[in-house]
Symmetry: C2
């Protein structure tokens, strides 16, 4: 007969209830106790029957993280931080890449139970408030990113508009007067782009600089190739800009590549500012000035909020919370020079 | 009463068996039929009971992809390609980041059933052959990477030793005579590093160049910061190298950053070669010459192998297969100049 909860409890010298708490991934077990139970589980080769446990309404110890795209380094870094933060709760994180597609995001939200997960951390691109209302699944969810504000679940984000404004104020403070923007997007769901554009416009106005719509370049996606092409279009103008604020670091790295290809000095002739503070920009040539959203903190807060929700009686659940994380400017060679 | 299979079948005008095939994620359902069934499922709000289905031994339509680290762009790109390839089978891919830790890899292999997945694509760092033998879970698995050869499951990889040799032969062909290597690792499990080092040594010998162990720099990990530090150590020597082969692109991008910081011209004074062909190196300054492993093809093959195994009678399963994918050299500015 395979070993049971009772055997594990006997070996670890704890109650069956404690073993069950560990197995189900509950948070409030002392680390020493958890380690002892884990040892006994390993030694005996105890294997909880997840399917049966799920039918009984237990916990799987698994959470899901749904992101638009892992090939965007920002999301890959965010995923890494969330996996780290989840370790403190002994959770396994399964990552689901949605590509921002409505259908996949909808399946995710409506089909939560299918994957036997305890909770979901979700950075939506396509779905907005109504679509996200807790379905019958009732699985706790924490939202990330700019798509949804005051939605049906806890939400962690930075103030994008203010952060974009800070980036533009830095460029204006260096004496730049023709500050372009790369990263506008037409579709109404592109909230990130809209907020960063709003911050750009507000900061220009504050600094007494005119808003010139022809200096704002729209992109299909936030990748290096889009930034490179957008920068080429700006340089082809009769009156090219003396600075450019890119709505993410990949766009900025692509823009810098075009500038160097054309023999334009960065930052002497054109200063470049990114957004995200991905690792690439710390080692690029020139290194990239950018907005740092404190991604590690966002990840920790999201995981801790989810843990709180899991410990909560659903009948007495607190109202959804909005947490704003501080951003900082990381100023490097692409605006300050060497 | 919630809608059942019967209701979905009636609405879609298909048999109950067909609805069940769609719900269970089987591959051989005509796209038109699948769409009709999906429509009926959506319209009726039918929700299959995954836990019950799992106990009956059905399929979840979910596969897992286990990778060491998503913050390594190579793995993030690989994950993206696997998600794409899995779409053709209408599979959802859940990604599990192992950080290459023995314990997490072991849990993954022994606890496959816990997450109700149909199959696993796994790039191990810690586990080797014996640990990977199909456990009681019996879930089909495809292995990626260099850690395991002729193991208990299908395996897709490139010929690392040959690829590393090609990189070094390219540098020697440019007339470089003091070719350093960055990326050696001491631990016996670091098969990737060992194979690339073996390729480096073999190519040096073929090209009639002496092997100088002091030109081989060991690193803790394959990140930009390791490459930057290793390059600094090489430049501090009385007789610095005139070329460097880095065991991945991140090491190479870090090395280039150090070279430019020290005012060393790339490639005129030191040529730099990477490995992986991640997107970063196509936009860096200088752009990066590298070995391209055709990651998209690796992903497609892994997914197709897994699909074959899922369609197979376990009692008549074919022996594990080894598939080798071709690599190519992508030659750019870091060795050829502008």
């Amino acid at each position: 007969m395979p070993p049971g909860l009772k055997d594990v409890a006997a070996r670890a010298g704890v109650s069956i209830k404690t073993v069950s708490n560990v197995v189900n991934g509950y948070v409030h077990v002392a680390p020493g106790t958890r380690a002892r139970v884990q040892e006994a589980i390993d030694a005996l080769g105890y294997r909880p029957n997840a399917a049966a446990r799920q039918l009984r309404g237990g916990r799987s110890g698994v959470i899901a993280l749904a992101l638009p795209e892992l090939q965007m380094p920002y999301f890959a870094e965010l995923a890494g931080f969330i996996v780290q933060a989840a370790e403190r709760h002994a959770w396994t994180v399964l990552i689901d890449q949605t590509d921002g597609q409505v259908e996949r995001e909808r399946n995710l939200v409506s089909g939560l139970r299918r994957h036997a997960i305890d909770g979901l951390i979700f950075s939506p691109l396509a779905l907005a408030g109504g679509d996200l209302a807790r379905g019958e699944a009732g699985t706790p969810m924490v939202l990330l990113g700019e798509r949804v504000w005051h939605g049906p679940a806890d939400h962690v984000a930075i103030d994008n508009t203010a952060a974009a404004g800070d980036a533009v104020r830095h460029l204006a403070g260096l004496g730049r007067r023709r500050i372009a923007a790369i990263g506008a997007q037409a579709q109404s769901s592109a909230i990130t782009a809209h907020q960063r554009l709003a911050g750009y416009r507000a900061a220009l106005s504050e600094c007494g600089l005119p808003y010139d719509a022809s200096l704002v370049v729209a992109v299909d996606s936030f990748r290096r190739a889009d930034g490179a092409a957008a920068m080429a279009a700006l340089l082809d103008r009769a009156d090219p800009p003396d600075a450019v604020f890119c709505f993410n670091d990949l766009l900025a790295l692509g823009a810098i590549r075009t500038l160097l290809d054309r023999g334009v000095a960065v930052p002497d002739e054109v200063a470049v500012m990114g957004f995200d503070d991905i690792e690439d920009g710390r080692f690029s040539s020139p290194t990239l000035s950018t907005v740092s959203p404190d991604t590690a903190r966002i990840a920790r807060l999201a995981v801790d909020l989810l843990a709180e929700r899991l410990g909560e009686d659903p009948a007495e659940a607190a109202a959804p919370r909005e947490l704003k994380v501080k951003h900082t400017l990381m100023l490097r060679e692409s605006t300050l020079g060497r």
